[in-house]
């Protein structure tokens, strides 16, 4: 009881702010009719969920590593495009799997090289030069492999054969309830290219090992190679060989799957892709810049721009949509669904909630994904040893390292997790927002505002901030139609579109004036 009173007094400002926000929310609800406020609430929550998926990763990475990853918006956007590819054009992804998996397998050999190189002594000059030669060789090999590898793909920018056309074809097939047409096989790639991909990875890994070798004073002890390295290595080889030998059969099977399963596979693929991308980014680009914040800033901003250009080159500049999976697109008799049972029967795209039509994918599925991630990451942080190390590292990563914990490995894991969450956000957001190379920028801005509101390094803060920003945006948008009756105005005040982003910034300014460390941030 006493403890409760103390914590009430300590958090007085926070509680007052929350009370004011609640009152404002109740007032906002009063101004709208029942179906309208329910729909606005759900839309707001759905936007919050997507903002949260970006903000969660950003705040975990920033909290632990002090790296502001300004490429996070771009990674979200890349996630949306990669998810689209796995969902709409699985044949292309399948074609690319063997060389990419083998390249990754080769790169994974780095600990083996580290152990081997520890026993070799080279003259200084040779030791300094060969890693760079090796890197060039690896890059050349990779280019050679990819040029000679057959990939069935779209033509970016072309309205019919481009990615937009693929989406349209899938849309039409789903509406007409027809099976998907399996694209023509691209043929089997040459075996030498597979060997080349593996070699490129191995040479690259050896070069990286050589580069890091130079910085170490002496060979201290040879660390044993962890069993999970061998496990992942085996898995990658299995995937590569499987995708190579059974390419056509797998393509046919994937095209015959229910689109809901395809979408689930795309979500999973996105998460794995994001985790790998994040891990590689951390090891190759972030780690070498250890403790140089300005360089972090420049490299993440730069990567963001490079990523946008890359996406424009591969998928084209034009925007296109992602068809909703079959479970969320029915519109015939029995729609909109009145309850869960009738939705399960007719797979309607909308459901009636308090008399209002709610879109199931956009306003329910997206929120569910956000909730699942919130719960999963909270459990990870609170219930596991890794989570304990992350929470400790957010406060003082040097001390964690001085306890004998390899903090760098935790950094890599957290970076991989953060990027995976952003990519997952992109895949989920695709059918809701449509795809455009610019979609990541505005979302990064929103999630930065959300984190500032919630407290920059606090994970629950990121969730609360995202919630407020998403709700505020949607309620202001709703009021631009209805108008707010203000006492001194004859006409109701209708917020104009520019006020929507401005309102979130205003909220941030007000909250930061009252609580400079954000709602749940820690006082320094």
């Amino acid at each position: 009881m006493k403890g409760l009173l103390v914590s009430l007094r300590k958090n007085r400002t926070l509680l007052i702010v929350l009370a004011v926000l609640l009152v404002l929310f109740l007032l906002a609800i009063q101004g709208l009719g029942t179906p309208a406020w329910v729909i606005t609430l759900l839309r707001g929550l759905s936007l919050s969920a997507i903002i949260f998926l970006v903000a969660a990763g950003f705040s975990l990475i920033f909290g632990l590593m002090d790296v502001m990853n300004f490429a996070h918006g771009t990674l979200f956007m890349i996630g949306a495009y990669v998810g689209w590819s796995a969902y709409v054009r699985p044949d292309t992804v399948l074609d690319l799997l063997p060389p990419v998996a083998l390249l990754a397998a080769g790169l994974l050999l780095q600990p083996v090289w580290n152990a081997l190189l520890g026993r070799i002594r080279l003259p200084d000059l040779a030791a300094r030069i060969w890693p760079w030669v090796g890197l060039l060789l690896a890059a050349a090999l990779l280019v050679g492999v990819l040029v000679g590898w057959p990939v069935s793909r779209w033509v970016p920018g072309n309205p019919t054969t481009g990615p937009g056309g693929d989406s349209l074809v899938l849309d039409l097939a789903l509406d007409a309830n027809l099976p998907r047409r399996v694209p023509a096989s691209s043929g089997r790639g040459p075996v030498w290219a597979l060997v080349g991909a593996l070699a490129a990875g191995a040479v690259g890994a050896a070069s990286l090992a050589g580069l890091s070798r130079r910085q170490q004073a002496s060979d201290f002890h040879h660390r044993r190679i962890a069993w999970h390295t061998w496990l992942v290595l085996g898995l990658l080889l299995f995937i590569a060989i499987g995708a190579y030998l059974a390419n056509d059969g797998l393509t046919e099977w994937l095209y015959g799957l229910h689109t809901m399963w395809m979408f689930m596979i795309a979500l999973l693929f996105g998460v794995v892709f994001g985790a790998l991308l994040g891990g590689v980014m951390e090891v190759t680009l972030i780690r070498p810049l250890h403790d140089r914040p300005i360089y972090y800033l420049m490299i993440t901003l730069g990567l963001g721009v490079v990523g946008i250009e890359l996406v424009q080159a591969l998928w084209g500049r034009t925007e296109f949509t992602v068809p909703r999976p079959a479970l969320f697109r029915g519109s015939g008799p029995g729609c909109p669904a009145t309850d869960l049972a009738s939705w399960l029967q007719n797979h309607c795209s909308t459901i009636l909630v308090f008399g209002g039509r709610v879109r199931i994918y956009e306003e329910i599925f997206v929120i569910l994904v956000g909730l699942v991630v919130l719960v999963a990451v909270t459990l990870l942080l609170q219930r596991t040893r890794l989570g304990m190390i992350i929470r400790a590292g957010v406060q003082d990563s040097e001390m964690v390292e001085a306890l004998g914990i390899n903090v760098r490995r935790v950094f890599t894991l957290v970076f991989a997790l953060g990027v995976a969450l952003a990519v997952l956000g992109g895949v989920v957001a695709g059918p809701r927002m449509g795809l455009s190379p610019a979609m990541g920028e505005s979302l990064l801005l929103l999630s930065l505002i959300a984190m500032a509101i919630g407290g920059l390094t606090s994970f629950p803060g990121a969730a609360v901030g995202s919630l407020l920003v998403g709700l505020l945006q949607q309620f202001i948008t709703a009021y631009s139609g209805v108008g707010i009756k203000l006492p001194f105005l004859a006409e109701p005040f209708k917020p104009t579109p520019p006020l929507v982003p401005a309102s979130t910034v205003l909220l941030m300014v007000i909250i930061l004036l009252v609580l400079p460390q954000g709602l749940l941030g820690r006082k320094e």
Binding site: R385, M388, A392, V394, E398, A402, G404, R408
Partner: protein
């Protein structure tokens, strides 16, 4: 003589600043050695150089006969060195129990050591579920020391344990450190000469980044001139 830790003429830089300009310390196995000196002399940097947080650019550090300078902190710590930093750097967002568990290097270490640790610091057992923020200064310091006792450490580096604590608490801490030193070697940084002289068998004085004097604590206690000159104490 059997030295567990030998620091040989190390030079450490922080940024452009040449902080340690030749520090040598010998810590015999099973003893408590105190690093003495004024504020800013380089005592804390010496400890951080050993654990690898501020690696020395020159000189050698031998732990149990193995050269450890230039290695990563987690590799050094894993050899059996526990670091208790100044300002009671416990993890505030973790509970007392988590603060102890995070230091485990093998599963179940805390369970095996629990009797020993809670025997030294009975308070901690009662507070095990409390978050670190709710502890008093003395409790935080005890937790910081206890955390270093969870794994099998051969050497403890303890930085300013008595700083800002009430005399009663300091007495408890002295008692605890003396008890734990029966099994562990300690390199202690201490401003409070009374505390240092109660605990340590020998001393090293650091002045402006150099180790200038060392010897048995018993001799120093009566050496008024040295005390006055290097420590400003009488």
């Amino acid at each position: 003589m059997d030295n567990l830790l030998e620091i040989r003429d190390i030079h450490t830089y922080i940024g452009q600043f040449h902080i340690l300009q030749g520090v040598s310390v010998e810590v015999p196995r099973g003893k408590i050695v105190a690093l003495l000196g004024r504020n800013g002399a380089g005592k804390t940097t010496t400890l951080k150089s050993v654990i690898g947080l501020t690696p020395p650019r020159q000189g050698q550090i031998l732990f149990d006969g193995l050269e450890i300078q230039g290695q990563r902190p987690f590799d050094i710590a894993a050899l059996g060195i526990g670091y208790v930093p100044e300002h009671r750097a416990i993890f505030r967002d973790l509970s007392v129990g988590e603060n102890l568990r995070i230091a485990e290097r093998k599963r179940g270490e805390l369970a095996r050591k629990a009797d020993f640790i809670f025997g030294l610091f009975p308070d901690l057992k009662r507070l095990i579920k409390l978050p670190g923020t709710h502890l008093s200064g003395g409790q935080q310091q005890m937790l910081a020391v206890a955390r270093a006792l969870v794994p099998d450490n051969k050497l403890l580096l303890i930085d300013e344990p008595s700083e800002g604590l009430a005399p009663v608490i300091i007495e408890q801490l002295i008692e605890a450190i003396r008890k734990l030193s029966a099994e562990t070697t300690v390199l202690l940084v201490e401003q409070n000469f009374r505390v240092a002289s109660h605990l340590a068998e020998s001393y090293v004085i650091i002045e402006e980044g150099r180790s200038v004097r060392s010897g048995a604590m018993a001799d120093l206690v009566n050496d008024r001139e040295t005390l006055h000159r290097y420590l400003g104490a009488a």
